[in-house]
Assembly symmetry: C2
Homo-oligomer: 312 residues x 2
């Protein structure tokens, strides 16, 4: 390679919104592949509001893969980053930029290292699904850089291996993550139920009651719940399947009352299994409690739900 | 009756401690008879610490039954007071005070009215089982006044009709409330597992994180949970029976580690089903959360439980 060739940097930038689950994902049946114990449904936010923006760059001048989150370098050694990088690299195709004289063959991607810079426009690890937006964006943008030709379902399945709920941020609108049955996770992916235009007068208000990092990460919290909560499996196997069907129906019909009731009930049940964990996990504080009580009183006085809550 | 006879007042005074459940009672299968959906186990506190003191008085001069709680008159019209009064009156026997020339025949009790004055030496309706101590004391003291000759099991069954957990405050030590099977509640009563001397180096610390009255009373909270929580019946039918057996074993063997783990797990699960209720019920606040986290960290650093918690 000439000096000029060695110095090129090819980049791609993408933006992915976070998503808020209305039927919650909590608990894995396979830790490494990130396979959940139940289906979940979420609504993807407007990328102008809460989103991750990621730029990925490849260059023969990079001696290793590196990543910066909100300007601070973080280790890429974790299995989750490695899974996403590996799965995208595996599907990389030829890239040619004639003007700049860059030509990358499919097989070259195995030797090319990447630099990744990602920014969240909202608090990280504070319960706002920063890892969902982040991994969806990483997979999407790496895929763009490497000219990957997979459909969104396949990309969602790769994003899932970075962070479970990331698979739902691949799509806009209302999205269902089908837990799948297969041991290798090949059928555990997200599908779009309806796009963002279907229910465009639905307004989502995010009230950040604390921007401190959560005391218990979702990953370790879920593991503790799966290992110690006697109520989790009952929730996953007996309660959630019925709620998924009702939620799909409510979304299809834009039935706000059913949607609101199901969302609140499922959010509460997620917090309930967190409390049923040893040691208990608290994701709500006195401010969350006051907001919920206010919403409940308002809805009660109006007779039908005006507002729903999903403390996250 | 002579003027002198009409003026006599016969009194009796009793004191009953409150009790703290270690396997929780939450949910009724019969509202009127107060029959629970599961067995529960509690430890009765030292009456010198948290207790109700009740004086009951009967006099032909009293035109009606009346009651004062902490110096303030309260209505006796509720079904629960009426149940306890009726059940004790039904079992009243002859009383004679020769010195004072008072002679009450069994059948006279139906016409004699009572005045009841009860004091709690701790906050009322703040989650410290004030109604348990209060109704146990009321039934016990009325029984004394009316010379009732029933055993403690029978008295516990009457106290139960005032407030479910009151049946456990009839005894000291560790007490089990057997839910019973019969529709008329006749087999739903408390039994003493071991008396207060069995485990006398067990220390109970009560940390009052708020002395405000609870926002949701136990009665309406339980009703809401029974009607709306999908997890409650699973808890009552599948989780609690095994915990009851393990708890009885732990108490018998003074096995603090098992006792502490079961107590914390069951307390958390009680709070979990409260959260799983629509609208959700919060009985913990940020201070409770901080105390639990502190206890968990302490126990974790020591390797075995040093302290357990039962947020109530």
């Amino acid at each position: 390679a000439t000096e000029a060739q060695a110095q090129w940097v090819l980049t791609a930038t993408g933006r992915s919104p976070t998503n808020i689950a209305v039927i919650k994902y909590w608990g894995k049946r396979d830790e490494a592949l990130i396979l959940p114990v139940n289906d979940s449904i979420s609504v993807t936010l407007d990328p102008d509001h809460l989103s991750a923006t990621t730029t990925v760059a490849a260059s023969p001048a990079f001696p290793s893969d590196r990543m910066w989150l909100n300007g601070k370098e973080i280790a890429l050694s974790g299995g989750r980053f490695q899974s996403c990088l590996r799965e995208i690299r595996k599907r990389a195709r030829d890239v040619e930029d004639e003007k700049r004289g860059i030509k990358i063959k499919k097989e070259d991607w195995e030797k090319l290292h990447v630099h990744i810079a990602s920014y969240n426009n909202f608090p990280t690890a504070a319960g706002l699904a920063s890892s969902a937006a982040g991994f969806a964006c990483l997979v999407f943008t790496l895929g763009k850089l490497m000219n990957v030709n997979e459909d969104y379902g396949e990309l969602s399945s790769i994003a899932r291996q970075g962070s479970g709920s990331a698979c739902r941020s691949i799509y806009g609108g209302f999205v269902k993550w089908c837990m799948g049955k297969s041991d290798d996770g090949s059928d555990s992916m997200a599908v779009q139920l309806v796009d963002e235009s279907h229910w465009d007068d639905l307004v989502i208000i995010i009230a950040v009651v604390s921007s401190k990092q959560k005391e218990t990460s979702s990953t370790s919290g879920m593991r503790d719940t799966v290992e110690t909560s006697p109520l989790l499996q009952y929730r996953a196997q007996t309660v959630v399947p019925g709620r998924i069907l009702k939620m799909e129906e409510a979304i299809k019909n834009r039935d706000f009352e059913s949607f609101a009731r199901l969302t609140c009930a499922d959010s509460n049940q997620f917090h309930a299994v967190c409390l049923d964990t040893s040691p208990p996990i608290f994701y709500m504080n006195d401010t969350s409690h006051r907001i919920i009580s206010l919403v409940e009183k308002w809805n009660h006085s109006e007779g039908t739900p005006q507002v729903y809550f999903v403390p996250v």
